[in-house]
């Protein structure tokens, strides 16, 4: 399978998840993702579930409290002006969370499928305009920059005793200082790069050259998965 085939597969599944209106349609997509995981990832399929569960669980908890516990009706019932029921609210929450879960799962499956490749090699192999590839690479690099800034700010504040390395009331009171310190760090890192490193080297031009590799052609295996995803896309909204 090629990165382009995997990216297209994930994109179609995401569109289908957004278009699906029922749990049956979403179940079809889940089955497709499980099949993809089973065939492409083998034993690593279960690993793919941890991240989507982590992403969706807080949302599910929040929506459950608000829609099922407090509101007690689904949005459709509110729009129709009927009294409604908590089971309808439960159905609504389940569909929204299942959609988000499938979106996260599709992305995670592709990431794990190409775990042996590096992010730059994966992006470079995509059949996309150079500007789009650069944008993806820069987005990833900024995510890494923010994570690095979090790490170094945490080190500073823990060493000074302003926050604790574990759960603590002090962290609730001083968490905003961590946020401020992270952003100061991000700005400093950005200035260091933009003022000193990048102008001297034309570093972004080097990135362009690194991403300019020719994209490999789609394989029959890509075609099968894309066809299965398109079939699921067609079936999901009407199921």
């Amino acid at each position: 399978m090629t990165p382009n085939g995997a990216a297209a597969f994930a994109l179609i599944v995401i569109v289908a998840a957004v278009a699906a209106h029922s749990l049956i349609g979403l179940a079809v997509l889940l089955a497709l993702c499980l099949a993809f995981g089973g065939i492409e990832l083998g034993g690593r399929t279960l690993n793919a579930f941890a991240w989507p569960v982590g992403v969706v669980a807080p949302l599910a908890l929040f929506m459950g409290i608000v829609w099922i516990g407090v509101v007690g009706r689904s949005p459709a019932e509110i729009a129709a002006g009927v009294s409604g029921a908590r089971t309808a609210a439960l159905g609504y929450v389940t569909v929204v969370c299942a959609r988000l879960f499938l979106v996260a799962l599709a992305i995670r499956l592709v990431v794990l499928r190409f775990a042996d490749s590096t992010p730059l090699a994966f992006i470079g192999a995509l059949k996309a305009p150079l500007t789009a590839k650069k944008l993806i690479a820069l987005t990833l690099s900024w995510m890494d920059t923010i994570l690095h800034a979090v790490d170094r700010s945490r080190t500073a504040l823990v060493t000074a005793g302003i926050i604790a390395p574990r759960l603590s009331l002090r962290n609730a009171a001083n968490g905003w200082i961590l946020v401020q310190t992270v952003w100061l760090s991000v700005v400093t890192i950005a200035i260091g790069r933009l003022r000193d490193k990048w102008p001297a080297e034309s570093t972004l031009a080097r990135l362009e050259e690194a991403l300019r590799a020719p994209a490999p052609s789609l394989t029959p295996r890509d075609g099968w998965w894309m066809a299965a995803a398109i079939a699921a896309l067609a079936a999901a909204p009407v199921a």
């Binding site: 590096t118 890494d144 823990v158 060493t159 000074a160 260091g192 790069r193 080297e201 570093t203």
Partner: protein, 403 residues
Amino acid sequence: MDRELITGGNFSGRSAALRRRLQRNGGQSFFLGPYAEAALSGLSSTVTDEIAVYARDARRAAFAPLDWSGFGRRKPATLSGGEQVLLALHCFSRSAYETIGIDTALEQLDAQNRAAALDYLGGAESGQRVVLIDNRLDPAAPAPPWSRREAADGPDPADAAETATAAARYACDLAGIISELRPRTAPAIALRGVDFAYGSDRPIFRALNLALEPGRAYRLIGRNGAGKTTFFKLLVGVLAPACGTILLDGAAYRPRASGNRAFALATQNPDHQWCGATLAEDIARRRRALAGRGDVMPPSDALLGSLARKLGVRASDQHLYELPLAARKRLSWLWPFSGAMPWIMLDEPTVGQDRDTSAGLAAIVSHLCAIGYGIMVVTHDEEFAGRIAHSPLRIEGMTVQPE
């Protein structure tokens, strides 16, 4: 071939002079700055990708004192300072750039890697032109092939005026600091059976046993990436040992539960230790964190203000990130010198500092030992280490041993 060593002290305009020389090349020079953000591209998530950004049909030998294949999946930002410099040099050696400018970055390398880097840069293979700032090469008579170039040789008179202003603005009085230092009695430290690993595949310490006495300076020695900074992070509670105990004067010390109450850390990159946007904010937050803890006495505002002035920063509303890097580095010693904590940990304190400043810092460190503090210092600066009576501790084979 051209091998230039730009000489001059801090605030002599040497960094600006280096940048000017590179700019003449129209964005076609490799730049290796003193810290990660100016050493690595910032465009890659793995070491393999960092190399891929630069790798072209290089017409020179690779500089590879480390086997980078073993680092492939590591994030460049998680490498030690020295490893980052070695990675940047490797990237340059694989690139098509013919000029490289290095601003004090080689000072982070251990003796062996530094010798290898200087050999490479001085040799015919490294490129057509190397422009270097390095406080540890003899500025009066640098060894061949390096030719000396004064920072003030620059063509722009506006730069000269700006340089003179900066030198006056950030002038420090390290000798005057000694009279301000308050005596302390540091506790003895004991580590028993400490294990630490980054994940399951990178063990750093195994069954580490060590005893450190107050009133002494210890120098941690080890290859780049051996775990020197990790050792500091374990003591301040940023990292948690997998097992083992840390004792202060025989009592269990758990910084992750009770907070750090013994160690003042000046980090290798000064920007890794600020707790606020301005000096006043940074100090106020540190003092507030200590307030109400009977076992720690926060230093007074007056003392901190006086120390800051002697370290070259005269206004408490000074934005830390607007200071020049050399001034930030000096200011990073403020909290350790304030007497807030009885043990002082200095991580590569002389990187980017000229020889006069290094000598002044060595005098302060010696005095701190004499008045009861415990000192741990990581430095690859032999001249600085030679000025301090110290006990070497070697980090090797996942343990720390007195030499």
